[in-house]
Amino acid sequence: MTNKANNVESSEHISITKTLLLTLPMMFFTFMMLSAGKIPAEPNKIIALTITFIFANTIFFLMLYKEKTDKYRAILFITYAICFVISFISNLMEIRGSMAISQENLLLCKTPFCHIVIPMTIIPLALSKTIIFPGTMVGAFASIASMLVLWIGASLALGRGFCGWGCFFGGLDDGFSRIFKRPIIKHINPKWHYLPFAVLLATALTSAMLLNPTYCEWLCPYKTVTEYVEVTTTKIFIQTIIFVSLFLALVVILPILTKKRTQCGLFCPFGAFQSFTNKINPFEIRINQEACIKCKRCIQICPAFSMTEETLKDGKARFTCIKCGKCVDNCPKGALLFHVKGTSLTGSAATFRLLFLYPAFLFLVTMAGSNIQDTILRIMRLITTGSMILR
């Protein structure tokens, strides 16, 4: 039976009423997360909240009704990344008038903490009881404690699904990877799949050696669209050239040419580190080998290089899988499925998928909600006052 046939058959089963009933809990959860327990007083904030709420729940409804995961996840995920960049830069412009962080602000630990730095903080924390990042522990925007708690929770619930559903940067290369219909570069040597682990090892060791988050300082391409250290020395100038070049190569050009998330799949040390959390997470992508015809469509389209010839033999995705669901959506025989570890493969694939979708989607809305609302507010401000930034 083909996937199309599967979908036709299942769409006969899943009615609008049933989909609405399944969406109701998500509507409640997302309303609580988006409103933070109170209805705003200002009309523009009510509008922003309403638009975000309707947008998110329409996406979830379509995800269930059309039985496509990645197709609808990508819309929200990419929107989230774009809104994050707009919101973050606008906030920086309001607070300090520039995207560049001054040495004074660095010394005052006023840098928002980012999850990518987590693997680099572990060895120095164990050796010197110091967190080698100029951030605030509690009480500030993106404080170290809040990001750590968020990361632990997401890792337990989703494993490396964090990269497919929660990372505020992932939507950028995901978005660029969808520009062309077909890839121009079709083959990448599998040796490069190990590069993120090498970057992880090298940056974790050099961070411990120098007591500095070396990845953030030298390599992180996302500084191009968030914040960077003010160029005051030749060293910082060289660092700026490096991270801007990496952004152009790994986040823009290579995703367009390969249709893959090259920054996430070939470079990001956090992604490599997060892969290990897939081992303790209950959700995985499995291959029903009886239904699989080895057409290798999943290998071609997997954005994170997590489907290979070996995975087809093993019957499950590599441990680097970001659980975006693209392979599940596109398998012509419906042989790929979301699965809960320790249960039978013959169980209900729809139930397994639903069990994964609730925490994954809620996490995405939780992460994306405030950024989307803030961007809507800024667009309204742009229309009414001519500027996105509150001065």
């Binding site: 190990y194 682990f197 090498a198 090892l201 090298a202 940056t203 060791l205 050696m209 070396t214």
Partner: protein
């Protein structure tokens, strides 16, 4: 701690290339965990001995060459640059990494039959004296530190860093993942090479300023 972290970054490559050489010997000799621990202790002692010899040689180079010739920063800077480039080359291109133990295979048999107790020490020494770019970079680093004690300490820490990977190898079945480990290890040392390239440039700039 630089020696320790350089050792850690290099250790994975050492393990990936040298373990297939020494593990069969170790397992052939070993008979239970206690016996294996004794073998590993002797193996690591041989490795430590080899590294300490190099600590003394590095100090000797500093005393005999650098302090006599002058231009210390220029010479060290150049050595860093050349070695880090070779490290990057060795990491990202298909250059065969060797284990010194492979080249003394015939002698191993003689030692094994004549002095079986000394055998793991000799293997340890042979796998320790690996003239790959990371090891040469470690020598340059040790040369740069100056005193004999500092040089010995640098190589002792380098030994600790590389040895961490060897401790569990004969106890658990890690042979299956060696190919992946070697790729990751080589790429990581290449990236560390980029850092040492930068260090070399800084040394060179300071050296030029001091002329």
């Amino acid at each position: 701690m630089q020696g320790f972290f350089l050792g850690l970054s290099n250790g994975l490559v050492c393990l990936a290339y040298c373990a297939p050489v020494f593990v069969p010997y170790m397992l052939g000799e070993g008979n239970g965990i206690v016996r294996n621990i004794s073998l590993i202790a002797r193996f690591l002692a041989g490795r430590l001995f080899g590294y300490l010899i190099f600590g003394i040689i590095a100090w000797g180079i500093n005393k005999a060459v650098l302090e006599t010739l002058g231009y210390r920063e220029l010479i060290i800077g150049n050595a860093y640059i050349v070695l880090s480039i070779s490290l990057i080359f060795y990491s990202f291109l298909n250059v065969k990494t060797f284990c010194a133990a492979e080249y003394v295979d015939g002698y191993f048999y003689k030692i094994k039959s004549s002095w079986p107790a000394l055998f793991p020490v000799v293997i340890g020494l042979a796998t320790g004296l690996n003239f790959c770019p990371p090891f040469l970079l470690a020598i340059t680093n040790a040369v740069a530190v100056g005193s004999l004690l500092q040089s010995l300490f640098f190589f002792f820490m380098f030994f600790l860093g590389t040895s961490l990977f060897f401790i569990p190898a004969p106890l658990i079945s890690m042979l299956r993942g060696f190919a992946a480990l070697s790729i990751i290890g080589k790429m990581a040392t290449g990236l560390i090479g980029l850092y040492y390239f930068y260090v070399g440039i800084i040394f060179l700039i300071n050296g030029i300023k001091n002329i």
